[in-house]
């Protein structure tokens, strides 16, 4: 029977248009989700309903997305607790931070399975417990949301298995047709990885491993090849050198192995009554480098003057040695005088002197080798037996690779931790070339400039998630072990290679086997491999005995090198250097590093053009003017900073910023200045001549944390010279007598406040502190110090608990000028009067943090008693009592108290009122990034004051341990974050009631002084007078 149709009313029967319209309106349409995702939806006019649908959808989506993050799972309490984890107690795992040429043997502090802090590993003879700002900050990039969370083909997610099969078939095809496979990486310190790459090469044939270093030392490599037949970087011993001459080598900041060199350098810079001697350090450089700022004598020379200066020095030394000189060597009289001095002194200390050069020009380096050879440095301060494995980039290999790729003769390119599209001077060219490569795979951790052009993106683990080893120095091995499960669906690059070699074992076992085969046999202590392995995992390092260096014979051709080196050129020049905290730019998405002030310019969140002051004055430029720089055929607009100490006619700017695809914090911050790097011969050159600079008239508001350059001759800084110190240990610290005399005089009844038991105190040695800024990052990490972003720093709202004050003093009429004139009505511009020579500056770095005064002015004025004095002499803050009148901050003579101007941490009483959503802040308040927070330290809310607490949580921890073991606290057991991070051991901390502790001893020292002692606030932090070994260095 046919089924009847029922209808209500004729309209439905006839389906009149009005009726249809009405009927359709009666019920809602489908969710237009496809539409939302297809692009042209945006242009469509949105109905209210659609809006509501989208709202509903996005809320649900957000909820779903937010509720399935891996770290959240860890919030679930343990059913069966792993024995190594005690909630609330930290575990430390020995590991290795190694990334390109960065190396540091470390301990990883984990809390409840989360790595939250990096400490130095004192077992390593290379870094000896020191760390760098980058090592400290590297923990943050573990929780970086910008890391790629899963393997991708192009832009589409892909399964690992699918990727593997596809890649293997392609590689197989290439193998059969005998095509070329190239592996492009940064320097690899891991011997096992090197083996693996070699094996991989053997497996597929026609494979070449190219190392690319953006800031390369290829010049040294090839010079050593020419001079000694070894394409290696030798080991340097700055501790053995009595006289150090550096031609623009920033060995404390960025050159080859800064942490190691810092340790060596400062060991010979500390002075005491017992050892009243120190090394003598000449620095010939063009811009003000971190090393230069610590030199006894800085001589500013133009970049193109460098080779000339080296030649000049060679001729002088050769003269002493009775050798014939070489052609060239025309330098300014000023430089010439100092070079003469240096030559004499080095000759006098034959075998105990060292010349290093930052140039990447093989000829220049050859002459440097010659000098060191004549001085007999090889075998004493330089040796090839304990050579360094850093900076293996050989520029020619890379340029060859590029041309190969352009020729289309590369069939497969595997990129491991290298990003040439950003960091190669002609990145665009490289990007084009990639397109010509059949199969391109990138292991980089994020979809950066290069990776976004590759076919496959197979993200590597973060180093804290992976197994690995490193051999920074011949015979000095160290191990990395995972400190956390992989956060994202990533896979270690080595495992990928193994998979493609059809290997059955994973990299962990490969590593073990490699050690068992190659490293275990070199020792005799352990009988079984497992015990050996366990021990090394535990301690993190395995070191063969240091080989006693053997002399090496120099066979380079000095004359050829001299004649080949270019003469000094006229006109303005530009030099490009590596930023101390940001390095070559890989960590440009790390807010801690971005907000860590440059040690010299104190600029954050930007890279600027350093301009010599005289030039700026005659072109009436001021800080923050935008100029158009034209060099190496590239034009770029950069903001300027007036930089005292620059060589006249020289500009400088730093690489490390201007990333386009690095993440929300770093994208578009600063400018990428790699294009200024030029390829000269086989090596990259980091300086340009014939530079034109013209003001564009634009203004740019820089974020600078210190705008006043001198210490106004106040007793904030006390300094003397070595000979003065030898005569009188109290030299430069005469005011201490007055202080010690006045100190007991007080209106208050005596000993009203007893500090029985422990009493904490600190001492900072201005001779050791090099101003690198590692302590600043360490402090922020340990104490959850918020990142505030560029705009907030512009408004002078930065939050660092410890800052490093950098003061200049200038060559004046008679004595050095440390005072600015009072008639400086412009306020912020640095108008130093009666400065005669803008090139000749002396710099002092002074870490400044809460002084924990015994008579703290901040404590009296707090109306609610939120800050007061502990029985251990700590000036303590009670955040949840603070009502934020900021009176304490006003009344602090050292201006070290910090106020939470906005809700930087989303810890506020009012939700959703974060005023400043700048990139850095937005990243730091992200749920994943907040995993890095230290659970022992309160996250401060808006409207409260905060400041250095002497890491009270660590002190309590140390005391608790001692108590549990029922013994008194040992000296050096309680360490502050800044102290343990310091690569220069400048900070001593401990109990001042106990006369045996290191800090008590420093208080007895004649050099010990207190900043603003005459205020009678009785600080708990002493500083050691800065001693300069700078008499008659011309």
């Amino acid at each position: 029977m046919e089924n009847k149709t029922y209808w209500k009313g004729l309209a439905e029967l006839e389906e009149t248009p009005e009726f249809v319209h009405e009927r359709d309106k009666e019920f809602s349409q489908e969710l237009p989700i496809e539409e939302i995702f297809n692009s042209n939806f945006v242009q469509k006019p949105r109905a209210r309903r659609d809006f509501l649908k989208m709202l509903g959808f996005s809320v649900t989506a957000a909820t779903v997305a937010a509720s399935c993050k891996i770290p959240v799972r860890q919030a679930i309490p343990y059913v069966i607790k792993p024995e190594e984890i005690v909630p609330g107690l930290a575990n430390y795992y020995a590991s290795t931070y190694s990334d390109g040429s960065d190396y540091c043997s470390i301990l990883v502090k984990t809390r409840d399975g989360r790595p939250i802090k990096i400490e130095g590993n004192s077992n390593s003879s290379v870094t000896r417990g020191g760390t760098s700002a980058r090592a400290q900050a590297s923990i943050l990039s573990l929780y970086d949301k910008a890391r790629t969370a899963f393997p991708k083909k192009g832009d589409q997610p892909v399964e690992w298995t699918a990727a593997d099969t596809d890649i293997k078939t392609q590689l197989g095809a290439i193998k059969t047709k005998g095509g070329n496979i190239r592996i492009l990486s940064s320097t690899i310190l891991s011997p096992s990885t090197k083996n693996l790459i070699a094996e991989f090469g053997a497996y597929y044939g026609n494979t070449k491993h190219v190392v690319f270093e953006p800031m390369s030392n290829a010049g040294i490599l090839s010079a050593n090849e020419k001079s000694f037949g070894k394409r290696t970087i030798p080991g340097y011993s700055f501790d053995k050198a009595k006289v150090i001459v550096s031609f623009g080598a920033d060995f404390l900041g960025t050159w080859i192995s800064p942490i190691e060199f810092t340790k060596q350098y400062v060991s010979n810079r500390k002075v005491s009554k017992e050892k009243a001697t120190m090394s003598r350090h000449y620095q010939f450089e063009s811009h003000v480098s971190l090393t230069g700022s610590n030199a006894d004598k800085r001589i500013a020379i133009k970049p193109s003057e460098q080779s000339e200066a080296v030649i000049a020095l060679y001729n002088m030394i050769a003269g002493f040695a009775g050798k014939s000189g070489v052609t060239g060597g025309k330098v300014s009289d000023k430089a010439n005088k100092s070079l003469n001095k240096a030559a004499e002194e080095m000759w006098a200390n034959k075998g105990a002197s060292l010349v290093v050069c930052g140039s990447n020009d093989a000829n220049c380096q050859t002459i440097v080798n010659a000098i060191n050879d004549v001085l007999g440095s090889y075998g004493s301060t330089i040796d090839f037996d304990n050579s360094l494995n850093f900076s293996q980039g050989f520029d020619k290999d890379f340029s060859d690779l590029v041309s190969e790729m352009e020729a289309g003769s590369v069939d497969a390119l595997i990129i491991y931790n290298s990003n040439p599209v950003y960091s190669f001077s002609n990145g665009k060219k490289f990007g084009e070339a990639i397109k010509k490569v059949g199969l391109s795979v990138s292991f980089n951790d994020r979809k950066d400039e290069t990776t976004s052009l590759t076919t496959y993106h197979l993200p590597d683990h973060h180093y804290l998630e992976s197994w690995n080893d490193a051999e920074p120095k011949a015979g000095k091995y160290s191990l990395s072990q995972p400190a956390i499960n992989p956060i994202f669906n990533t896979r270690q690059a080595q495992d990928s290679l193994l998979k493609w070699m059809d290997s059955t074992i994973d990299y962990n076992n490969y590593l073990k086997n490699n050690w068992e085969k190659n490293i275990y046999p070199t020792q005799t202590l352990f009988s079984g491999f497992q015990s050996f392995w366990d021990d090394k995992i535990r301690f993190g390092v395995y070191e063969k005995a240091t080989v006693t260096p053997s002399a090496t014979s120099f066979s380079g051709d000095v004359n050829a090198a001299a004649s080949a080196s270019a003469p000094m050129s006229a006109g303005m020049e530009l030099m490009v250097y590596e930023s101390v905290s940001l390095g070559n730019g890989k960590y440009a998405n790390n807010p801690w590093l971005l907000e860590n002030p440059d040690p010299i310019t104190k600029v954050v969140w930007d890279n600027v053009l350093m301009v010599p002051v005289p030039y700026a004055k005659e072109n009436n430029l001021v800080d923050g003017d935008m100029v158009e720089v034209n060099a190496n055929g590239v034009t770029m607009e950069l903001p300027i900073v007036l930089q005292p100490g620059m060589a006249n006619n020289t500009f400088a700017t730093s690489v490390g910023l201007g990333r386009e695809k690095v993440g929300r914090a770093g994208d578009g911050v600063g400018k990428n200045v790699y294009p200024f790097v030029s390829m000269i011969g086989d090596t990259m050159s980091y300086s340009n001549s014939k530079v034109t600079v013209k003001p564009t008239g634009n203004k740019y508001e820089l974020a600078i944390t210190q705008t006043h350059g001198t210490f106004e001759g106040r007793n904030v800084i006390q300094q003397t010279t070595l000979s003065e110190y030898q005569k009188n240990p109290k030299a430069g610290n005469e005011s201490i007598e007055e202080y010690e005399h006045n100190n007991p005089i007080t209106l208050y009844p005596q000993d009203i406040h007893q500090y029985n038991g422990l009493r904490w105190g600190m001492n900072i040695d201005l001779n050791s502190c090099i101003g690198c800024g590692a302590c600043q990052v360490a402090c922020s990490t340990e104490n959850n110090v918020p990142v505030v972003g560029k705009d907030e720093v512009r408004r002078v709202h930065e939050m660092h608990w410890i800052r490093i004050d950098r003061y200049y003093s200038f060559a004046g009429e008679k004595e050095r000028v440390t005072q600015e004139s009072h008639s400086n009505a412009t306020g912020l511009g640095n108008q130093y009067d009666n400065v005669k020579d803008w090139e000749d500056i002396e710099v002092v770095h002074q870490p400044m943090l809460c002084q924990h005064c015994e008579n703290a002015p901040c404590e009296n004025v707090c109306p609610v008693a939120a800050t007061n004095h502990s029985s251990e002499g700590l000036n303590q803050m009670t955040y949840n009592r603070c009502i934020g009148t900021r009176y304490c901050a006003n009344n602090c003579p050292y201006k070290v108290r910090r106020f939470n101007w906005f809700d930087y941490t989303t810890a506020d009483s009012f939700p959703w009122n974060t005023y400043d959503k700048s990139q850095g802040v937005a990243m730091m308040i992200d749920d994943l990034t907040r995993m890095v927070l230290n659970p022992d330290v309160t996250v401060r809310s808006r409207g409260v004051i905060e400041k250095c607490s002497f890491c009270v949580q660590k002190l309590q921890d140390a005391k608790l341990n001692a108590k549990k073991q029922d013994r008194p606290l040992m000296d050096g057991e309680a360490r502050t974050a800044c102290q343990s991070a310091c690569p220069a051991d400048a900070i001593v901390f401990g109990d001042v009631n106990n006369k045996e502790t290191a800090v008590s001893k420093t208080r007895e020292d004649e050099r010990n002084y207190y900043v603003l002692a005459d205020l009678h606030v009785k600080p708990s932090i002493g500083y050691m007078v800065k001693v300069r070994n700078n008499e008659n260095m011309a």
Binding site: Y748, H869, S871
Partner: protein, 178 residues
Amino acid sequence: MRNKFLVGIYSDEDKMIDGVRKMRENHMEVYDVVSPFAVHGLDDALGLDESRLHITGFIYGMTGTTIALSFMTWVFTTDWPLNFGGKPHFSFPAFVPILFEFTVLSASIGMTITFLLRSGLWPGRIREVLDERTTDDKFGVVFRINKKTTEEEISKMKQMLQSTGADEIKERELKNHY
């Protein structure tokens, strides 16, 4: 009957004062004088004894001082001795400002409240006025009339008021005692 008053309205305060004097010389009991402002010499004319308000003020003040000092001392030495910038726990000079302020505060508040209560003044207190002009420019001399007051007494009051220059004399009965 008990709230009955005889009011003589004067427009010259000197006449009024002389009048009051005369009445008291004649042993007449002047109940009260209402005036738009404080008339000098009226107090002794009426034979009012001096107000003791300032004495209470002193007492309140001293109480305040004692409370403040003892409280601050107790807090800083006994209950919660903290070390603020190395200062002594009992830092008397630092207590002085608060001591003083609290003294003044207690004295003035105490006195004002006493004044209001004593004079039966408080917010919303509505009194019937004998004559509305007495807050403007007139002065009223008030006699109380109760059961015992005899007619001739009343007439004596009236003519006494008249003789001393009252412009106008009227009897008023109020609902309640003012």
